[in-house]
């Protein structure tokens, strides 16, 4: 009998996926329901906003230098 799992499907680059996995580990594995492949994970519905914010924070730490270029003219 087929099974259906409710949640939010997230599609992203493999690099972002790695960060998401790391965030998941830091949060007692409470975010990811199913690790599908390198570019897709199924996460809990109510954790989506939280993950978005956490990911933004993580990215701000890692890709700072790229942000501050094109603001001239």
């Amino acid at each position: 009998m087929p099974r259906a799992v409710g949640g939010v499907l997230v599609e992203c680059d493999p690099s972002i996926k790695a960060i998401i996995s790391r965030i998941n580990e830091q949060h007692n594995h409470d975010i990811i329901i199913e690790d599908i492949d390198d570019e897709h994970v199924l996460i809990k519905k109510d954790k989506h906003e939280e993950l978005k914010a956490l990911l933004k924070d993580a990215l701000r730490d890692t890709v700072k230098e790229a942000e501050e270029t094109s603001e001239s003219e």
Binding site: V8, L9, E34, L42
Partner: protein, 493 residues
């Protein structure tokens, strides 16, 4: 397929319980409005064909109407899916029939008769001072734009001079989270931005759906509210209607609808009401505000009121010029349009009939942070592009369009969909069939073939499918077992 405006209404309707539908469909005007506005073409054809059928139509006969290629079957499945979600079509075993209440009301709407009064009762006595259509349009525009001003004005305090709107409407805008109150001032939210960039008809539905949600909290009957809205959609512009046969809930609604500019009453206790164009276009495709400042560059500065011939010539044609160097020229003097532009660009100079601005990374990112998507910005710029730009294809400079998209992608590293991951479908053949079914319904989002999983956005009909598949398999298994038993028996004798 239905437009975005009625899509919102459709989404809301789908969430209602079945009993609500049965009561809604008692009103011929509701049945007709839903038939006219919410159904795709094939669904209309199916309903029309089945309207006078005394017996349920078997699924096989229905299939015979449709060409057996994949495209046509997909369209048919989608049509059936919408009909079922709106509880118009009922399934009985392997046959379909129209919901009795819906069929009866639609027949009555088409052929006339009955004393349901659901298409409104025109006043029997003529108004001493008849109200002209022009006046109604102006009234509707004024009311509706003051609501928009309030939403925009909350982002831009220079617009505070705009006309005030009623406390009830303000509360409603907060309830729908178009604005939030921070301290004493209202601040626009992402929903508010989305709301602003929509066309007028979609805006009205968006607001009315919030109204519907709030009304049920206020002990107003949502069926009463909805059927009155659908009635309004079938009324005639410029005719006055009597309030006497309205239910108490609907009488109460008239006050709120006057605030929105959907109906006009000379005094709050008048026994007649005039629907405005905002109301009569609720269930049609016609533009809701023919002289709106949202769709034109005419001076709709209500207080100044001096129409400018130059800008009126550009009426309905768009007013924005975007250059490859990210500069933007907007031929407008409407504070509403200017503040919409200020949402995603840096305003630089303002002339009597022209505003110059620049699209910068900072301005686009601030828009994205409040919830406007790059898609919305681009769509807005495209639909309001000046005629000069329209000669070129593409209309907007590709560099600017691409850059706006890139600025958004930079911040967004993942895309997400709510829904259900389906696993353990069974054999490869079962999987294939299930995926095809999901695709035909338009709910398939992603396939993970290697794992035998797939992701769908809605589950209700998929679970129905799996149940029927399961039942069929069990039947087949039983039949096979019986056949095997018989064979075994016959060989024994």
């Amino acid at each position: 397929m239905a437009s975005t405006a009625s899509q919102r209404a459709l989404d809301y309707l789908e969430g209602l319980p079945g009993t609500t539908f049965t009561r809604l469909y008692q009103q011929p005007s509701t049945a007709l409005a839903i038939f006219r506005r919410m159904l795709p073409h094939l669904a209309k054809t199916i309903v029309m064909a089945m309207l006078y059928m005394p017996e349920p139509l078997t699924a096989n006969s229905l299939d015979a109407w449709v060409k057996p290629d994949a495209d046509s079957v997909g369209v048919k499945d989608r049509a059936l899916s919408i009909l079922q979600r709106l509880r118009i079509l009922e399934e009985e075993g392997r046959a379909y029939k129209l919901a009795a209440a819906f069929a009866k009301s639609l027949r009555m709407a088409l052929t006339g008769g009955g004393n349901h009064r659901s298409f409104g009762v025109p006043c029997s006595t003529p108004d001493e001072k008849p109200v002209s259509v022009d006046y109604l349009d102006t009234f509707a525009r004024k009311q509706w734009e003051s609501i928009l001003y309030y939403v925009v004005g909350s982002a831009n305090t220079e617009l505070a001079a705009a006309e005030d709107i009623s406390a009830g409407t303000k509360q409603l805008l907060q309830k729908g989270s178009f604005v939030t109150i921070r301290g004493r001032a209202a601040t626009i939210t992402d929903t508010g931005f989305t709301f602003l960039l929509q066309e007028v008809n979609a805006q009205i539905w968006t607001l009315l759906i919030v109204y519907l949600e709030v009304s049920s909290e206020l002990q107003m009957d949502p069926v009463d509210v909805l059927s009155f809205l659908f009635t309004l959609g079938s009324l005639e512009l410029g005719t006055s209607y009597a309030t006497t046969n309205l239910t108490p809930t609907q009488q109460q609604m008239l006050d709120d609808l006057t605030d929105f500019g959907l109906v006009y009453r000379r005094t709050p206790d008048s026994t007649r009401y005039y629907p405005t164009r905002l109301a009569t276009t609720l269930t049609s495709d016609a533009p809701a505000l023919p002289n709106s400042s949202l769709s034109s560059t005419t001076t709709t500065d209500i207080t100044a009121g001096a129409p400018q011939t130059v800008s009126q010539q550009q009426n309905e044609k768009g007013y924005i010029i975007v250059e490859t160097n990210y500069r933007l020229y907007a031929y407008t003097n409407s504070p509403l349009l200017i503040s919409i532009l200020s949402l995603f660009s840096n305003l630089q100079t303002r002339y009597p009939n022209l505003v110059t601005a620049k699209i910068t990374k900072a301005s686009v990112l601030s828009a994205i942070n409040t919830g406007i998507s790059s898609q919305q910005i681009i769509a807005y710029l495209t639909t309001h592009a000046h005629p000069v730009l329209r000669h070129a294809t593409p209309i907007l400079p590709p560099t600017v369009v691409d850059q706006i998209r890139l600025w958004q992608i930079e911040g967004e590293r993942m895309t997400a969909w709510k829904g259900f991951l389906i696993k353990d479908v069974g054999s490869d053949k079962d999987y294939e069939k299930a995926v095809q079914y999901a695709e035909a319904l338009g709910v398939l989002r992603k396939e993970f073939r290697a794992k035998g999983w797939f992701f769908v956005t809605r589950m209700d009909q998929m679970s129905g499918y799996f149940k029927s598949q399961n039942a069929r398999r069990r039947q087949e298994a039983a039949a096979a077992a019986a056949a095997a038993g018989q064979e075994g028996g016959s060989s024994a004798t």
